[in-house]
Amino acid sequence: MAARDVKPARNASNKVKKSTSTAAMTRDELFAAYEKMLLIRRFEEKAGQLYGMGLIGGFCHLYIGQEAVVTGMQFAIQPGDQVITSYRDHGHMLACGMDPTGVMAELTGRSGGYSHGKGGSMHMFSKEKGFYGGHGIVGAQVSLGTGLAFANHYRGNDRVCLTYFGEGASNQGQVFESFNLAALLKLPVVYVIENNRYGMGTSVERASASRDLSRNGAPWQIPGMQVDGMDVMAVKAAGAEAVAHCRGGNGPFLLEMKTYRYRGHSMSDPAKYRTREEVQKMRSEHDCIDLARTELEVRGVTDERLRSIDDAVKKRIQEAADFAQTSPEPDESELWTDILVEN
């Protein structure tokens, strides 16, 4: 693959730079990214509604506000690469190309869901699309993603694993253990910290003594970069550089995505830890979808075309919501299947 020949821009120097590239996407790419971000936004809004109607139970962590991160990163990888994340995972699944109907039906706990209703919001997988979950224990997916990268390294292929986690998870011990292992073994893993500023209700300033999370890999010489995670083009540019570094056999790379979640941590969130104004300011001034739309208009995409996409996305989400409500609950026999692989 071409990317193999790309020399890493920062040769393990761990010099942190802010990525601001807006020329990283062609108009068609940006258009596709816009559509994907919109799909995630509308999906999550619908999920919120279904939760309010009692059709989705348990935990439901919405991704609204952060769409540019997974979307931009997806443009930086290629088929065969892997993605793994925590429990705020709906956006990642849609970005990977998983079917919104299967995801929504899993949220409602129906047999048509990706895990036949046995996983729920936090636990879905698609090997076909390179998505390895969907993990509910904060930080656990970081070691697991390091292991996916280990498998690539072991097999000698040129695949890269994107391992996502929040700034809250970034303080977990196993995250640092994983950094050390990945750097020692030179594993092809891009650690993507989605710094949305709050781990549940605790702000990053109150949780992490590290003021620049992109430098958290510094003791292991893992190069890092801070990225405007509200700008899908900047994300793609940074992602491409990180992925090329990994694919080139240079070991792990760390990206800190500065992003923001508009909704609560989960559906039951007291919203006492930040002001309404703060959220409103991010929404009105830094929204990733507005930003992409403005750029598309600058690049000559007509309002009519953009609106037709909006309508198509809405229709697709409505179909997913309909399916999620009509798909039958799993058969009772499912209770006893998939505990062990019978050999």
């Binding site: 892997q82 793994i84 869901g113 990706y114 895990s115 036949h116 209703g117 046995k118 996983g119 636990h123 879905m124 997988f125 698609s126 090997k127 390895y132 979950g133 969907g134 993990h135 509910g136 224990i137 656990a140 970081v142 070691s143 697991l144 993603g145 390091t146 292991g147 996916l148 990268a149 280990f150 498998a151 690539n152 072991y154 097999r155 011990g173 196993q174 640092f176 253990e177 994983s178 050390n180 292992l181 020692l184 073994l185 499912e334 299947t337 998939d338 505990i339 062990l340 692989v341 050999n343």
Partner: protein, 450 residues
């Protein structure tokens, strides 16, 4: 008077070792504390220091000698003029042999007692005497040759050759790509291995002991055991977690604990506990081939024990099947791992008292072979379970519950348990002995049923 330089014990369970190298020769003068030789134990290579000042008068055990017993004289140190007579006096003393009884009373002898051993349903023909340690290594080597996706990962598994030398020779044969040394980060490397298994590889994770696996319990239970179910069958986790479990000897509370009940509690895991060399080899091969996460509980003291083991290249044992190690008529004693030894010894004593004991070696804890136990109890009408772990919600509790549910009408006496005492393991030798099931405990528990 010459001083005898003795083979030192360098670990609590060491009974013998190899005299790897003499660093000083006969005629050399040494001071107390000078390094005179190197020995290899079951764990490490260590230096032997001179205990006293003097001249090395005689080397009693040449370098390269294997199986030198702890406390055996290996050299004489003294002053030149007075040593000769002493040296000649011991000249004809026999070289220490590994077959002599170990001096450490807490160590159980390697020879299994076999009376009326039933023929195994899977008769694999010719056997060879090997240690449990060798059986485990052979199993890994065979499976690694068979499947390039199998690899070993853990602390000290490669260059050090295994903290307990179980992985001896694997690095040389398979290279560092497939025998992977890790830093001391159980949580991280266990998660890494589980992730690799999710990607389709077949990791063998060696925990230096299962005590340290508690650091990684989340990855074992939440990630490895549950993913198949949570994914609706899409993504499994073919992985083996192995290492020594249970009390060793004199290593105190944090290093002496049986985890059988902890793991056996969890759906999505298989839990295996071999006793003999054949168990170790046959079951580890099965565990590596199994598409599920398997907890493979070994025992440090058993590592050096020798048993006959089939040499057939396809030898493998089924997970989930117990083995009747000794046929009896009056009472069923169920045990696993180290406690099979204890049960067999107790059976010998009871035989002399006219009680015929059937001893079942569980081999697998989960899935529990309830059928074999029930069949036995239907014949003997009495049950005693023996384990080193704690009593509360232990394996014995489960066995007793199963038998009460499935064979209540056949019971002539309440089913009972022999377990380790419900205390953290004490260090003192006398207290430790009091905390762990002894053969007399089994004898007493059985006797009470009549």
């Amino acid at each position: 008077m010459a001083t005898e330089l003795l083979m030192p014990a360098l670990s609590p369970t060491m009974t013998e070792g190899k005299l790897a190298k003499w660093l000083r020769s006969v005629g050399d003068n040494v001071k107390a504390g000078d390094v005179v030789a190197e020995i290899e134990t079951d764990k490490a290579t260590m230096e032997v220091e001179a205990p006293d000042e003097g001249e090395i008068l005689q080397i009693l055990v040449p370098e390269g000698t294997e199986n030198v017993l702890v406390n055996a004289p290996i050299a004489l140190i003294g002053s030149n003029h007075e040593g000769i007579e002493t040296a000649s006096a011991v000249k004809n003393a026999p070289l220490p042999k590994a077959t002599q009884a170990p001096k450490n009373p807490t160590i159980t002898e390697a020879k299994p007692v076999r009376v009326a051993t039933p023929k195994s349903p899977e008769d694999w023909g010719e056997t060879a005497e090997i240690t449990v340690r060798e059986a485990l290594r052979d199993a890994m080597a065979l499976e690694m040759r068979r499947d390039p996706d199998v690899f070993l990962i853990g602390e000290e598994v490669a260059q050090y050759q295994g903290a307990y030398k179980v992985s001896q020779g694997l690095l040389e044969e398979f290279g560092e790509k497939r025998v992977v040394d890790t830093p001391i980060t159980e949580h991280g490397f266990t998660g890494l291995a589980v992730g690799a298994a999710m990607a389709g590889l077949r990791p063998i994770v060696e925990f230096m002991t299962f005590n340290f696996a508690m650091q990684a319990l989340d990855q074992v239970v939440n990630s490895a055991a549950k993913t198949l179910y949570m994914s609706g069958g899409q993504m499994g986790c073919p992985i083996v977690f192995r290492g020594p479990n249970g009390p060793a000897a004199r290593v105190a509370a944090q290093h002496s604990q049986c985890f059988a009940s902890w793991y056996a509690h969890c759906p999505g895991l298989r839990v295996v506990a071999p006793w003999s060399a054949a168990d170790a080899k046959g079951l580890l091969r099965a565990a590596i081939r199994d598409p599920n996460p398997v907890i493979f509980l070994e025992n440090e003291i058993l590592y050096g024990h020798k048993h006959p083991c089939p040499i057939h290249e396809d030898f493998v044992l089924p997970i989930g099947k117990a083995k009747v190690e000794r046929v009896g008529a009056d009472v069923t004693v169920v045990a696993f791992s180290m406690m099979v030894d204890t049960a067999l010894k107790a059976a010998e004593v009871l035989q002399e008292r006219g009680i015929s004991v059937e001893v079942i070696n569980l081999r697998t804890i989960r899935p529990l072979d309830v059928e074999t136990i029930v069949n036995s109890v239907q014949k003997t009408n009495r049950l005693v379970s023996v384990e080193e772990g704690w009593p509360f919600a232990g394996i014995g509790a489960e066995i007793v519950a199963q038998i009460t549910e499935h064979a209540f009408d056949w019971l002539d006496a309440p089913p009972t348990r022999v377990t380790g005492l419900d205390v953290p393991m004490p260090y003192a030798a006398n207290l430790e002995k009091l905390a762990l099931p002894q053969e007399e405990w089994v004898v007493e528990a059985v006797t009470k049923l009549f």
